[in-house]
């Protein structure tokens, strides 16, 4: 599954950041394979979403989140 499908209360680890123009930036921001992510907030109108990556919180659009492959851990 990918990050855009994550639900409240779920924890996941990043499997792969698919190759696109944003992937380097995402990796610099700490979205690396093996990193733990969870859903924090959803903006009004359902998009973008705020996620917790490692020790901080960042937000991104659903479209960009769909390039991040994840595996649920709980």
């Amino acid at each position: 599954m990918n990050l855009s499908e994550i639900k409240y209360g779920q924890k996941a680890t990043v499997v792969k950041v698919c190759d696109n123009e944003l992937s380097l930036k995402l990796m610099e921001m700490g979205l690396l394979p093996g990193e733990t992510v969870s859903l924090e907030n959803i903006a009004p109108f359902g998009d973008p979403i705020a996620i917790r990556v490692g020790e901080y919180k960042m937000c991104l659009r659903l479209e960009d989140a769909s390039f991040i492959e994840i595996k649920l851990t709980s």
Binding site: L22, M27, G30, F45, G46, P48, R52, E55, K57
Partner: protein, 701 residues
């Protein structure tokens, strides 16, 4: 003389850089431009010991040395130029301890450029609340650089930083050493980029297209020849750096009790980004800001007014009557007081924006607004320049540098000046007070505050409408994304806010003050003098009238002044453009003000004050408020009040839409690097203003 130590302050956004800069330098700083650009450079002086000082350069926050946005380019641009004379002797790197890994990525890149780095570990208290403790010594050993725990907001650890800065020698370290199968490749890269350090050379080669087109072509050919894949290299670099960082963090970190999940930020965000409550609270907050601008400012405003009236009276009565007295009282002071009286309102507005930014709320506004902004070709990050535009378009247009996508950034720049800025506030305040009697309310709310808020809504609506149109005309180079950190909420630091208010207040008083004094003096001269034959004939005519007995001398003097104003150079000027602005409901006196406020909107009020002061009968009682003078003004032809509802509304709209700000034009030129977009902006905004006024005036009257 001992050379000052030159220190660059580098760090991620939201790591507390500004707080540390303020803690180290206090008010001892200067804002200038990087040579040949308008990029602001903030340099502060920090006293290290009795005979040694450090010069601290504040650089924009960035996440990496591969810049994605214009503000990141500024930081990279300073750090890449190692042969230059103003290159820093060392880098003071500030990192957020509650999020150390990501912060250290940039640190490791900076260190690999070959500049000594000192790590200031900030927000240790927040990390500890989450159960994360770092051992300074172990971290320092693992990274092989000096580490100091600080609390920039509480100003602790400053002394320790100074102690390290005073040390004789500073080490350089290396975390990542690029290796290549073909050694001649990196030699060629070093030659072409004129750098000795392999990593610095390669990094510049990858970023070259930002700075040079000729070299960038050569580099591209070289990359192709040696089958060098820049992307794959960067990916390898990031993974390598994070491995090194992971090791260092693991060695020095102790996990104890505490958690992220119970944090205040988490509960606050549940409400503030909630789909209904979040939007509602944002609108409510904006509403309260506008209420506050009017209600809190009334006392300080009346103090400023009294101060100016008293000094005008004092100068008018103590200086001998004549041209100098006239110039100071009716030229300079009249112009200045008209604008300075709004300083309290401007300070209140800037205070709100600075506090919302410092607390961390602005990022949330971007988050909740992104979906709404998208159909208009904008981005959640556009909201910060747009809201900042309510204070001043110039720094806001600069703050659009954080928007990575060029199209979204350009549209943000083009529409930001439609947001009602603080320079319009004096104009709005004056015109609204002519529209609504004092003390009117709508339920428990101040009616003036509501109309003012409406003006801001109109400005915002016009900005969104224009953005929607521009979306179809501006070409996109890359896809647009929205990727942003949501920093934890923090209490605002009063000192940081006060420094911002001091800066902005000073800039307003001096910046606007200089223009206004100059314009007032010129205007006073143009309004007091005219073609000598006409002026003389008026003097002669009134000399005869006044020589007759039993006259209402005051009334005749007023009539004389007003006739003289019409005959003056300023009057002729206003008359010249009157045909063009008559359809909007403006007379020639307003025409003069429109022309003088072409450079800066707030000059309108000063001009009106000067015109009506020169046109008055010159007695001391005549120093009453400009608002009163304008409201009793009648049209010499029709005898009706000049400032009818239709005219005032039309004027309000004109000032809401027209681009009367030379500073904005010049900042847009430098930020877009072309006159084209500055021109497009000036023309479209002026056209929008003219057509809207035409419409409004005809509908209402």
């Amino acid at each position: 003389m001992i050379k000052n130590l030159s220190v660059a302050l580098v760090g991620n956004p939201n790591s507390g850089k500004t707080s540390l800069f303020n803690a180290l330098t206090g008010l001892n700083y200067k804002v200038s431009n990087f040579p040949g650009t308008t990029v602001e450079k903030k340099i502060g002086v920090c006293k290290l010991s009795d005979n040694k000082k450090a010069e601290l350069i504040d650089l924009p926050g960035t996440y990496s040395l591969y810049p994605k946005s214009a503000d990141e380019v500024v930081t990279y641009d300073l750090l890449r130029n190692s042969p230059e004379t103003n290159y820093p002797d060392l880098v003071l790197f500030i990192a957020d301890a509650s999020n150390l890994k990501r912060n250290l990525l940039l640190l490791s890149q900076v260190a690999d450029l070959g500049v000594p780095v000192i790590l200031a570990l900030n927000m240790v208290d927040i990390a500890e609340r989450r159960g994360i403790f770092y051992d300074e010594k172990l971290l320092s050993n693992a990274l092989n650089i000096p580490v100091v725990s600080i609390n920039a907001r509480k100003r602790t650890g400053v002394h320790e930083i100074k102690k390290i800065l005073l040390e004789e020698h500073h080490n350089t370290v290396k975390y990542f050493d690029p290796e290549f199968p073909q050694p001649d490749f990196i030699e060629k890269i070093c030659a072409i980029t004129d750098k000795k350090n392999h990593y610095a050379a390669l990094q510049y080669a990858i970023n070259a297209s930002i700075f040079t087109t000729t070299k960038s072509k050569e580099i591209k050919e070289l990359f192709e020849k040696y089958h060098f894949d820049a992307r794959a290299f960067q990916e390898k670099e990031i993974l390598h750096r994070y491995r090194v960082i992971d090791d260092a963090v693991r060695i020095s970190r102790k996990q104890k009790e505490g958690s992220f999940t119970k944090s205040l930020t988490k509960s606050a965000d549940k409400i503030l980004t909630h789909r209904f409550a979040g939007l509602f609270l944002f609108l409510l907050l904006m509403f309260l800001v506008f209420q506050a601008i009017f209600s809190w400012s009334s006392y300080p405003m009346s103090w400023v007014e009294i101060a100016f009236t008293k000094s005008s009276e004092f100068i008018a009565s103590s200086l001998p009557t004549g041209i100098l007295n006239d110039l100071i009282v009716h030229g300079v002071l009249a112009g200045l007081s008209g604008v300075m009286v709004f300083l309290p309102q401007i300070i209140i507005l800037f205070a709100f924006i600075a506090i919302l930014e410092d607390v961390g709320y602005m990022a949330r506004v971007g988050f909740i607004m992104d979906r709404i902004m998208r159909p208009f070709g904008l981005n959640g990050k556009s909201i910060v320049p747009l809201i900042g535009g309510m204070a001043c378009a110039v720094p806001s247009i600069m703050s659009s540098r954080s928007i990575e996508n060029k199209k979204e950034r350009l549209i943000t720049i083009l529409v930001t000046p439609l947001m009602s800025c603080s320079a319009r506030l004096p104009v709005y305040a004056l015109l609204i007070s002519m529209l609504v009697p004092d003390g009117s309310s709508w339920g428990p709310f101040n009616l003036k505050g509501i109309i003012l808020m409406l003006m801001y809504v109109i400005g915002f609506a016009a900005a969104m409408f224009s953005a929607f149109i521009f979306k179809y005309f501006v070409k996109a180079e890359t896809k647009n994304h929205f990727l942003m950190e949501l920093p934890g909420y923090k209490l605002p630091v009063i000192q940081n806010i006060l420094i911002i208010l001091y800066d902005k207040g000073k800039a307003f008083v001096w910046g606007a003050g200089k223009i206004i004094v100059a314009v007032s003096v010129i205007l006073w001269a143009l309004a007091s003098f005219g073609p000598s034959d006409k002026m003389q004939s008026i003097d002669k005519k009134y000399a005869e009238v006044l020589s007759q007995p039993n006259q209402n001398i005051e009334a005749i003097k007023t009539q004389k002044s007003s006739e003289k104003l019409q005959a003056s150079y300023a009057g002729e000027f206003g008359k010249l453009i009157e045909p063009a602005i008559r359809p909007l409901g403006f007379d020639w006196k307003i025409g003069i003000a429109l022309l003088t406020s072409l450079a800066a909107r707030e000059v309108f009020v000063g001009t009106m004050s000067t015109i009506y002061s020169v046109g008055g009968n010159g007695s001391i009682d005549d120093l009453s408020s400009i608002q009163h003078k304008m409201s009793i003004e009648t049209d010499s032809v029709t005898g009706k009040p000049v400032y009818s509802t239709a005219t005032v509304l039309s004027l309000l709209i004109f000032y809401a839409f027209a681009l009367q700000c030379m500073s904005t034009v010049s900042v847009v030129r430098t930020e877009t690097k072309s006159w084209k977009w500055a021109g497009v902006q000036f023309v479209y905004m002026t056209a929008l203003a003219y057509l809207s006024c035409l419409l409004i005036f005809h509908i209402v009257s």
